[in-house]
Amino acid sequence: MKALLFALLLLISYTGFSQQCNITLQGHIEDPDTREMLSAATVLILELNKQVTTDARGNFEFKDLCPGNYSLQISHTGCKTIIEKISLTKSRHIDVDMPHEKNTLTEVTISSNKGNKNTGTKKELSGKELEKTKGQSLAEVLSRLNGVTLLQTGSTVSKPVIHGLHGSRILTINNDVRQEGQQWGNEHAPEIDPFIAGKLEVIKGVDELKYGSDAIGGVILVEPRPLLNHAGYRAEINTGYFTNNRQWIASAMYEAQPEKLHEFSFRIQGTYKRGANARTAHYRLNNTGSEEKNFSLAAGWKKHSFATELFYSFFDTRLGIFEGAHIGNRTYFDSAIANNRPDPVFTGENTYQIGRPYQKVQHHLLKSKTSYKSGKNKFALQLSLQKNYREEFDIVRNSNNYKPQHNLAITTLSQELSWEHKQNAQLTHLIAANTMQQDNRYAGRYFIPAYRAYYFGGYYIGKYSKNKWELQAGARYDNKNIYTNRILQSGEVFDEYGFNFSTFATSANASFKIMQGLKTNINIGLSSRAPQANELLSNGIHHGTSTFEVGNIHLKTEKAVNINWGAAWNIASGKLSAELNLYRNQIDNFIYQQPIANEPVQTISGIYLLNIYQQNNVRLQGIDFSATWWPFEKLDWQLNYSMLRAKNIDSSDWLIRMPADRIGNMLSYHFKDEKKWNGSYITFEYNYVFKQTRTPDETFVKHDYKAAPNAYGLINVDAGTTIQIQNVPVSISLGIRNLLNKAYRDYLNSMRYFADETGRNFQLRIKIPFQSKQIKE
C-alpha cells in the first residue's frame, strides 16, 4: 500500500514537471569482474513503467524524461536484479556494475569462459537473437550457435548436431527434465516448442553430470523464463508469416501474479503453426507441409524458503514427408538419386494439405519441482511424467486405410532428490540421486522392440571459487536395465533379451582470469553411453535410404574422453572481443551404421542394401572461433568460424555425415533511437559452408550413395524496429533467408539425394507485449 502511495506521489510530481521533460538518461552496464558489456539487459524505470534493453555494447538510453527521483530496475540473465535510485535534474550518463551471481548450483545456469556463472563451456541464445528465429524449429534456432549444425530429413524434420554428434549422444533438457521421446531416429526431431524458451543453451562440462553420464556430445537446455516475481500481469502475442511455404504462426502468452496472493504465480502459453509445401529455388516439393499445435501451463508457489512449481506442456505435430524421397527398393533408389531434380510428378503442388507419407507426433510433459531452503542447505524434489506418441503413415495399397503403419508409445517417469550445501563463500556441494522408469510399446510394422527399462543413478558436483580461480569437479554413476520382447501376431514370443549397463562419468573444469578482460577455461570429462534399443535390436526397412537396418545385441558401451579448452578476450575499449574454443573428443566403441554392399536383403518388394551397426574407436577434434568488432558506435561485425575433423582411428578413414567447415559473417547497423522508434537495426549475413571433402573412402567399401554436395554461400538480411503504438512497444521485423534464391544442397540433409534445399523466404514477425501498470518492488 505504501509503495502504491509512493507511486501515486511520483505520478503527481511527474505531471507537475511535465513542461521541462526533455532529459536524456544514458547508461552503460558491465560485469565488474570480466568487464563484459552486458547486452540484452533490461532497464526499467519503475515509476514510469518505461523499459529499454541494452544494445550489444551494454548501452541504454531513455529520452524525454522529467526531472525527479527514479528507481531503475536492472536485470540480466545470470545476474541478480538490482535497483538503482537516481536523481535527475539534467541529462546525464551513468555506469552500472552488474556482477554475475557466483556459485549458485540450483539455478540451471551455466557459465563459461564468457564470464557468467561458475561452470564449463556454454553458448546461449536469448533476447533479440532468439526473437529473430521465432517460427523456426528448435534445431534450426540452435544452429545459430557456433559449433551447432543441423541434421535434416527434408525441410520439416531437423535435429541439432553439436560438434558432429547428435541423437542420443546429446541430451535435450526441457525445463529441467530430460526429454525422452524418439530421439534415436534421424528423422525424429525434438518434440519441443521453441516458443517455450526464454533462453536456449548448449553446455559442456561438469554441469552435464546433472542430466546423465551419456552426454558425449553435450547438453541442450531449453529454459522458460522464470515466473513473474511481482504482482501484476504480462502478456505477449507473437505472429509471423513466411512466404516460401506460406507458413503462419501465432503464439500467445499470459502470466500473472495476483495482487492478493504474492506466493502464487502462473503462466499459460500456446502456439499454432501451419505451413504449406516448401519451394526450392527452381521447384516446389509436394507433401512437405506441416502443422503444429502446442501449449503449456506453469504455476508456482513460493513462501519464505519453500518453493514449488508445476509445469505441463503438450506438443503436437503433423509433418509431410516428400514423396520423392520415400523410395522403395534399390532399383528405383539408384535411378531416383541419379537425377538432378525430382520427377515432375513430385513437384509443383502448392497446398497446405498433407498426404501419405506423413508423421504425427505428440508429446506430453508433466513436471513438479519442490525445494526447501534451510540455512546453508537446499533440498529439492523433482518428479516428471512424459508420454510420447509417434505414428508413421506410409503409402498404403488400400486407399480406405486410415491407420498408421508404425505406432510407437513411450512413457517415462523420473524422480530426483537433490541436496545442495553451501559450505562457505567459496565452496558449494551438490549431491543427488535419481531413478527413471520407461515403457516402450509399438504396434504395426516392426522396427524396434517393445521394452521396459529401469534406471537409477546419482551424482556429486563440487564448485570452488577464489580470487582468479573457478574450479569444479563431479562424478556420476548410472545403471540401466532393459527388458525387451517382440511378439508375433500368433502371440508366440519371437525373441526376448535383457540387458544391463553400468555407466560412469566424471568431469573437471578450471577457469582462470589471466588479467582484466582475459579468461581461460579448461575442461576434461569422461562420459559413457549405453547402446540404445534401436542400436541393439532394430530390424526393418528404412524407406528414406532403401536400406534394411539390423541391430547388434553384442554392442558395448561407448566411452568418450573429452578435452575442451577455451579463451575469451574483451579489450578494455570495448571495441573488440573474441572467443576461441578447441576440443578433442576421443570415443571408444563409437556405434555407427555400416552398409554391407555384398549382402543385399531379398524381400518380396525387391532388394535392399543391408546396414548393420558396428563399433570403432573414433576421434573428433575441432575449433570454434568467434569475434566481434565495433569500428563505430553504431556498427558491428561478427565473425564465426567452426571446423571439425572426425576420424575412424581403426580404419584411419574419415567418418561419414560430419558437418563441413563453415564461416559466418554478420554486419549489423543499429539506428539511433527516435521518439517513436527504438532498437532499430539492419543486419546482413553471409554464411559460407565448405564442401565436405573428408568423406569415407569409397574404393573398397560402399559408404554413401552420392558424393558430398558442393560448397554454398547464403545471404540473409534482417531488419527490425520497435514502435510505440499507444504506449505499447510493438516489435516488427522482416527477414529474408537465402536472398539470392540459391539452389544448393547440404551434406547433412538426407534429402540431398533427391532435391535442393528451400529457396528464398521472406519472414515477417510482429511481437506485441502488454503488461500491467502496477509493478511493485
Binding site: 502464487f264 501451463l297 504455476a299 508457489w301 508445476l310 505441463y312 514423396e323 520415400h326 522403395g328 527398393n329 532399383t331 535411378s335 520427377d343 510428378v345 513430385f346 501419405r356 505428440q362 506430453h364 508433466l366 511424467l385 508420454k387 506418441y389 506410409d394 503409402i395 498404403v396 495399397r397 488400400n398 486407399s399 486405410n401 491407420k403 503403419q405 505406432n407 508409445a409 515403457d439 510399446r441 509399438y442 504396434a443 504395426g444 510394422r445 516392426y446 522392440p449 517393445a450 520382447n485 517382440r486 511378439i487 508375433l488 501376431q489 519371437f494 530390424n539 526393418g540 526397412i541 534394411f548 539390423v550 536383403v601 531379398q602 524381400t603 518380396i604 518388394s605 525387391g606 535392399y608
Partner: protein, 186 residues
C-alpha cells in the same frame, strides 16, 4: 491454492484422455505385409494346374524367402493367374481381391530376361481398359533356362492417373512386389 488444484485436475484429465490410445506392448501387425506371390499355370482345356511361388512367411529380414523355380513344357501356351497373400495374418489374407477391387491403381509388369523364350501377353485390363495383369497368357518356346521378373506397381495418387504408356519405373507408382523367378523350359 484453488488455482493450483484446478491446474492439476486439468492436466491430469488431459493425460488420462490420452491414455485411451492404448495398445498392447510389442504387437507386430503389419497389415501392409505381403508374404506370398503365387503363379498358377493351366493349359487351356486341361483341368490340372501347376503352381510356383515366392514366399517369405516372416516378412522382410529374418529367414530368407523361398523362391520356387518355374518348370514349364516347351512349345506350350499357358493361362497364368496370380495370387497375392499375407499368410502371416490369421486367417491368411487374400490380397488379390483387394488388388482387383482397386484395379485402377494397380498394375503388374512381366519382364522376361533378354533372349528369353517366353512371351507374356493378353494381360487383363482394369475398369479403365488399362492393363492390370492379374491374369495373362504365356507362350513358351523351345527348351532353355532364364529368369522372369514380376513387378506389382501401385498408384497412390487420387485419381491414380494410370496410363497404358506408363513404364514399370514410372514415378507415378511405387513398388509393392518385385521378385525374379528362375525358369526352366524342358
Amino acid at each position: 491454492m484453488k488455482k493450483i488444484l484446478i491446474l492439476i485436475i486439468f492436466a491430469s484429465t488431459l493425460l488420462s484422455l490420452n491414455a485411451c490410445k492404448k495398445f498392447s506392448e510389442g504387437e507386430t501387425n503389419d497389415e501392409e505385409l505381403i508374404t506370398t506371390l503365387q503363379l498358377n499355370f493351366t493349359i487351356p482345356g486341361s483341368s490340372s494346374t501347376q503352381s510356383f511361388k515366392f514366399e517369405d512367411l516372416d516378412g522382410p529380414g529374418g529367414n530368407a524367402p523361398v523362391i520356387e523355380p518355374i518348370v514349364l513344357a516347351a512349345g506350350t501356351t499357358y493361362d497364368v493367374s496370380l495370387e497375392v497373400w499375407n499368410k502371416a495374418a490369421n486367417p491368411p489374407e487374400n490380397i488379390t481381391t483387394e488388388i482387383e477391387e482397386e484395379n485402377a491403381s494397380h498394375r503388374f509388369y512381366y519382364s522376361p530376361s533378354v533372349g528369353s523364350n517366353i512371351v507374356v501377353s493378353n494381360l487383363n485390363n482394369d475398369d479403365n481398359a488399362v492393363p492390370l495383369g492379374t491374369t495373362s497368357t504365356w507362350q513358351v518356346g523351345t527348351a532353355s533356362t532364364g529368369n522372369i521378373s514380376i513387378t506389382l506397381r501401385h498408384y497412390p495418387g487420387t485419381p491414380p492417373d494410370k496410363q497404358i504408356s506408363d513404364p514399370v519405373n514410372s514415378p507415378k507408382s511405387g513398388t509393392d512386389i518385385e521378385v525374379t523367378f528362375n525358369y526352366t523350359i524342358q
